[in-house]
């Protein structure tokens, strides 16, 4: 299947050597995108998280052990497996910028997309979202609240993209040529370690363009050819090896 190409392609370069697993990105994401808190969050199957920080281990015993943390937003595939299976076109990839959309009112909750997504980036609302009394006052006005029966996922804070474009238009700039930093996701903005760099993968003026071409950059499950827009960087070979299902004798890029 042909990969959709866009003039502007928003993407991330996440340096796994800089991420220390603090979770600030996860909390920022929830607050920005109006995800409801849950009293028992230990059932990870039912917990709604657009962004999850996974723990990676080099699987060596103490003292040779090493640890890394991998933040996983929606990978915004160039060839998204979720889009082709959606029976109601609730998810699509057709907007300049290459962000895979999720239209909640159109979603019928069949969860085919969840089954298709190789990254477990999609979440189904098994329950209606409930905020403790009064906490709904802290909802942002930018992202609608999703009810029970709907699938949701990371949108690269699409509302911020719209705002950045509106601002560019108001200032007489080209909304299709946003400068580096005009539009950043909430997780990238929050990260105290600067582990997440966000920008246009097609624009040489953006840092992410160069980082995605680094010898240390690779993508999650790259050989599925989903052509994702999230790149992971690590100088550690064992970390890069865990980004795909490599055989022990296979050589890893970088």
């Amino acid at each position: 299947m042909e990969i959709k190409e866009f003039k502007v392609k928003w993407g991330m370069a996440i340096d796994l050597d800089k991420c220390t697993g603090c979770g600030a990105c996860m909390v920022a994401c929830q607050a920005e995108n109006n995800l409801a808190p849950i009293a028992d969050a230990s059932n990870k199957i039912k917990v709604m998280n657009w962004l999850v920080v996974y723990e990676l281990s080099n699987k060596k015993p103490f003292p040779e052990h090493d640890v890394a943390y991998l933040p996983r937003p929606c990978q915004q595939c160039g060839h998204p497996p979720c889009v082709s299976v959606c029976p109601v076109v609730a998810t699509d990839k057709n907007e300049e910028g290459g962000i895979v959309s999720q239209i909640y009112p159109r979603c019928i909750g069949c969860r085919y997309c969840m089954a298709a997504c190789p990254y477990h980036a999609r979440y189904f609302n098994w329950l209606d979202p409930v905020w403790p009394e009064g906490m709904e006052k802290a909802l942002t006005p930018d992202v609608s609240v999703r009810p029970r029966g709907v699938v949701e996922k990371c949108s690269f804070c699409h509302h911020r993209f719209m705002k950045a474009k509106d601002k560019a238009i108001a200032e007489g700039r080209d909304p299709e040529a946003l400068a580096d930093g005009d539009y950043v996701t909430s997780c990238a903005e929050a990260c105290p370690n600067g582990a997440i760099v966000f920008g246009d993968l097609n624009n040489p003026d953006h840092q992410v363009y160069h980082l995605s071409r680094s010898k240390y950059a690779s993508r999650l499950l790259e050989r599925l050819h989903a052509n994702t827009q999230v790149y992971y960087l690590s100088r550690r070979e064992w970390v890069r090896r865990q980004l795909d299902n490599y055989l022990d004798n296979e050589k890893v890029k970088g």
């Binding site: 340096d15 800089k18 991420c19 220390t20 697993g21 603090c22 979770g23 600030a24 996860m26 909390v27 920022a28 929830q30 607050a31 920005e32 109006n34 808190p37 849950i38 009293a39 969050a41 230990s42 990870k44 920080v53 281990s57 103490f62 003292p63 052990h65 090493d66 640890v67 943390y69 109601v88 159109r106 209606d128 979202p129 905020w131 403790p132 009394e133 906490m135 709904e136 802290a138 909802l139 942002t140 006005p141 609608s144 609240v145 009810p147 029966g149 709907v150 903005e189 929050a190 990260c191 105290p192 370690n193 760099v197 840092q207 980082l211 680094s214 010898k215 240390y216 960087l233 100088r235």
Partner: protein
Amino acid sequence: MAVDRRGFLKFVAGVSAGVMVTPIPWKLLDDASIWTQNWPWIPSNVDGASTYVSTVSKLCPSCVGMKVRLVGDRPVRVLPDDNHPLSKGGISSLAVAEAQMLHSPARVKRPLKRAADGAYVAISWEEADALLAEKLAAAKGSLACVSGDETGSINDVLSAMTGKAGSSNFYLMPSEAQPAAKAVAAMGGEGQLGYDIENSDYVLAIGANILESWGTVIRNRAAFKATRPHGEEPAATFVFAGPVQNNTAAGADQWVPIKAGTEGAFALGIAHLLIKAGATADAADFSAFARLAGTFTPAKVAELTGVNEDQLKDVAKALLKARRPLVITGSEFGQGTGAASVLAGVAVNMLLGGLNRKGGLKLLPVAGPVVDGAMTRAEMLGKDFVAYMSRINAGKDKAPAAMVFYEANPAYALPQAAKMAEVLAKVPFKATFTTFLDETAMLCDLVLPVPMGLERLDDVATPYGSGQALYCLARPVAPMPAHVKPAGDYIIALAGKLGMDLGVGTWEEVLQAKARAMGADWDSLMDGNVHVSSSTVNAQPAFGAGMLQKGIATKAAEGDYAIAPVHKLNVGTAKTAIPPYNNKTIRRWELQGKELYVAMNGATARKLGVMKHDKIVVSNKSGSISARVNIFEGVMNDTVAVLMGLGHTAFDQFSKGKGENVMQLLTVGFESGTGLSVWNMAGATISKA
């Protein structure tokens, strides 16, 4: 007209085909999809104009600077503040949910009084005022006051009130600042230790969890970020020495495993190697220190700390090679360490010529008190609340008639927490100024609700760990709930009622006086700017070798296994418990339902004969906790890593009853020389449940 069978079928087929080509079924499906998602109990977005206000977090111990996004008058987001020196474009996992915490179910909404049957009843502020004034007057100086705010001028007001009542029992909750202050005093220095991480090219953190919770952590991490271009060789090296491969170790270039509580011995091992390589320092007691360090040979240090000798030597070599090395000693969990380990860390910095040097250790000026009769910062940090509680427990000190807490939760946060709660029960009258209904509030006779940092005017003066003296204001950005009162003005008025003259009329006067004392411009502070000073205290401190020699002696911990508490800001603090938006960040094998998971490496598990998910009991003479086993190879042998911040018995559905409180297992001891209470070397026995 007769309709035959064929005609009827044609009609049905025609209608079916016709309907399918019209938008009707699709529109109906679409509408059904929309309207079945549009229920009155699903909150709707409320729009409004967005504004942004710069302030500082009083909730997060990192005192991170932040920009609050308001929609209308509602704070909806806490964002990083590029211009704040304690944010530098980053935000902590705790502060980032602060806007949501305004609506926490655990918030105290009105004054509460404990009734005769033990239940709380809501009372008016007038009734609360009268009760508090009556009890404090009756206490006649038999008063103790405990503050959980380490950086605010509220301590001037509280310590002045305590002093004017005739008591010297004003205490801060334990932190890293207290042993550091003792260390500075033992060195004959003055001021507050500051750490210039930004300008260092080699940062050795011994115990100090500098990339997760130690000091001004978001600023530390900004320095870490600045020296690490994506996917390139770092411009500065970060090394972490500690018992667990925690979040700091995950970011550091090198993890050096050492046993919990042996930070001082490790630092002296480094000092030994530096002196051997010719390092010296211009201090009166250098030779005494050199003699002491001379006994900390690599072999002895390896035995004491469990460090690999080669790793120790490599670190010493790298420190000598670095242009601007910096050594930071601390506790993995932000408390419980002695002055000796700080002294040992400072000594290494002195040997490296790092005192008051760019990228080194600094002595920062501290502003004096601004309220009549208030303690100086050095006096406050010299007071030891855990030691005071221990004295009451041992009958060496009388329990005060009244105890007042300000944003402090000792019933949860102190070592041997259950014992501390027992001691608190001996105090006849207890009142707390608190935002949340915490464990201490549950023990109090009077609970007085105070606004959160986002709702009040407050201040932050040079938090411990900062590299430079600074002062900034937390400005009220959200409307205050109807029945809460800011503590500053309330306590000043209360003191007046009790006939004490604190020399100030309002809380704002106190802050203005503090701003003057810090050399800051009030108007600029009120605009959200931060006053930063690059000045340092000129001093020629000694090594404090005598004190170090006494304090460094390590005692064998109880039991066969060491306990390594792991502190992560995302789990909240004793004051906040787990914020509602944060419990999703707790890892799968840290907490399951209400069950705590503790981590140990495979070798330890084999020794114990346990496997992942097995139930165990970790116990010592202070207490016991039950937990399940998680295997994590980033833990030293014979060590069990326990996540802090769980096991709350108060707060709300997001925190209460989840896991166990590791503080139950931390046994208080006393450091020789300084007499400081310490609890960073806990041991335990482990059995299968």
